[in-house]
Symmetry: C2
Subunit: 340 residues, 2 copies
């Protein structure tokens, strides 16, 4: 008997993938191993399908997660997977398992968030499943999307010398979680306390509770006529996602630590929690930004873009995936274990 | 505050559907309210998307449900939703939430069943999500399928005088569950007991543990050049599904009780459990057979089919959905409450 911990989530996915036979349908273009599955749609477009499950006590804590935000987030994290293929979402299904402690009003709040996200990302809610749950709240969202055949972007097609880019800033969602967890512990110790989360921390809290799927970037890449060579969304931290791109593309990478985009609030909170902001960016997760690579000659089209930052470059030495300081020091970037 | 029980599952779905805005995408052909969502695929075909969630303690009990059968069943019940649109499945995603008590070997068993079902139904496993779970096992499957535009079959298009047909036989899965539950109680009372489930009950047990999605019927309807006027799969019992067809089509129905197909084993077990076999067929659920209607002149193509039985006919009086005995007695068929 082997425990799941010894294998880890990535090991488990790898095991499932290896045992999965080759596709039968000619319409199956790409299966397990990318942000979304790819299927034949029309002459000029591919269809995309992705799914994500959120479980109470694992992915969210209802003591500080408002149901409306949770509904929004459940859609946003799925939309993010479609964006990671350079695609745009079109339809979603939402399945919900509810224990008897939930009221109709609570379910209304959850769906108000789901609808708000559908509106924000231009997606139709087309179905789902509702069921009772013996324990907590379970949410499973599946999303359909589409992408022009000549713009689809996989994980395994980065090349040496490609510029590595990230959107937005990193580490904020992780520090938002730390703030919320601390607040919860203080509340549990003293239920009469007043919430002390200041306005200055609002950005971090929002990044954790109501992340955004970056479909805006997908539109902008199209407008700028840039097709990334590889792309993935940053759900488990920059380190983990970079390792996916490198392993699947057979490349190495150099990341310049001073280039990693970190918000001022993230810096301040990291200091307070005695965490390196770079560690938060590398291993924190849940930022739902995009990590992508472009050919060096393409990068000039992006270099003045305020929400896209070049953080390093791909190399031809697959084993060397390193973080480099300005002083020239290099440290190997390591994989994480079981990730929620 | 309103409890979920006062609303019921169907009331909840209705509430969600009513609050869902009209579709934005022209590619969204049909949303919430049928067995699967329908989207534009090619000039001659529609795409189908459906999803079902199975939760431990609600939908299955691992004390008697082998993981391999559970994997098969999770796929089969989704395939059944695609069949209910007169379509065939093409790709699935499987998301699994696992608590730490599951071993790698247990997950292997689950996926062996999933792969067996993929082979049986000619479906590609293209993705999913794996996560840890705080409580029990959670399985969420989404399935893509397709159907010729001129063969798609909705729930709301039955007409008065259409012949109501069911495939296979009904009530067996429910009695299989009763047998397994009784066995479990006996085992809990006396853990040294030997299992007493006889060979003669094998069919009932199999119907509960390893149901089949009826894609065979979809192929045969095509071969016989029959397009049903309306169709739904029987997951919650004949009564509940018939009410859906009638309510959505604006028809009434007469079901002849002596025509309802019930297997001999179901009769025997029903007698033992002091349940009417007709009640088991009407309200038992989990048979995953198909309930469909055809125009009277089309029915002759089906009347010699060994696995299709005419059980009644649609009428033009929406409020009267009745079960009729040979003696001429009629009783109104009622809706169920919250269904698992």
């Amino acid at each position: 008997m082997t425990t799941l911990d010894t294998l880890g989530e990535l090991g488990l996915i790898d095991r499932i993938r290896k045992e999965t036979p080759a596709a039968i349908h000619p319409g199956t273009i790409r299966g397990i191993g990318d942000d979304a599955a790819v299927f034949a749609l029309s002459d000029s477009e591919f269809g995309l399908l992705s799914t994500d499950m959120l479980l109470e006590g694992i992915h969210f804590d209802l003591t500080y997660m408002p149901l409306r935000h949770l509904g929004f987030k459940a859609v946003a994290v799925n939309v993010s997977d479609i964006a990671a293929m350079n695609g745009l979402p079109t339809q979603i299904t939402v399945s919900v398992g509810l224990s008897s402690r939930f009221t109709v009003e609570a379910v209304d709040e959850l769906y108000a968030g789901i609808r708000a996200a559908c509106e924000a990302y231009n997606v139709d809610l087309v179905g789902g499943d509702t069921t009772s749950s013996r324990s907590g709240l379970v949410i499973s969202v599946s999303v359909l999307g589409k992408v022009d055949k000549d713009r689809i972007t996989y994980r395994n097609t980065a090349q040496p010398n490609d510029v590595i880019c990230v959107t937005g800033d990193l580490g904020a969602a992780y520090l938002g979680l730390q703030l919320l967890e601390r607040e919860k512990q203080e509340y549990l110790a003293n239920p009469d306390m007043q919430p002390s989360l200041s306005e200055e921390r609002a950005y971090l809290i929002q990044r954790q509770l109501r992340p955004d799927g970056r479909t805006d970037i997908i539109h902008e890449l199209r407008d700028l006529d840039v097709v990334p060579t590889a792309m993935i969304d940053i759900s488990d931290g920059l380190a983990s996602e970079l390792l996916h791109l490198c392993t699947q593309s057979g490349t190495g990478a150099v990341i310049l630590d001073e280039n990693i985009p970190v918000d001022d609030q993230t810096y301040l909170a990291a200091e307070e929690f005695k965490i390196s902001p770079i560690t938060a960016a590398l291993n924190g997760g849940e930022d739902y930004e995009l990590l992508f690579t472009v050919k060096p000659q393409e990068f000039e089209k992006l270099q003045n873009h305020s929400r896209i930052t070049a953080v390093g470059y791909m190399t031809s030495t697959p084993d060397r995936i390193v973080l480099a300081t300005k002083a020239g020091q290099q440290t190997q970037i390591k994989a994480q274990g079981w990730v929620r």
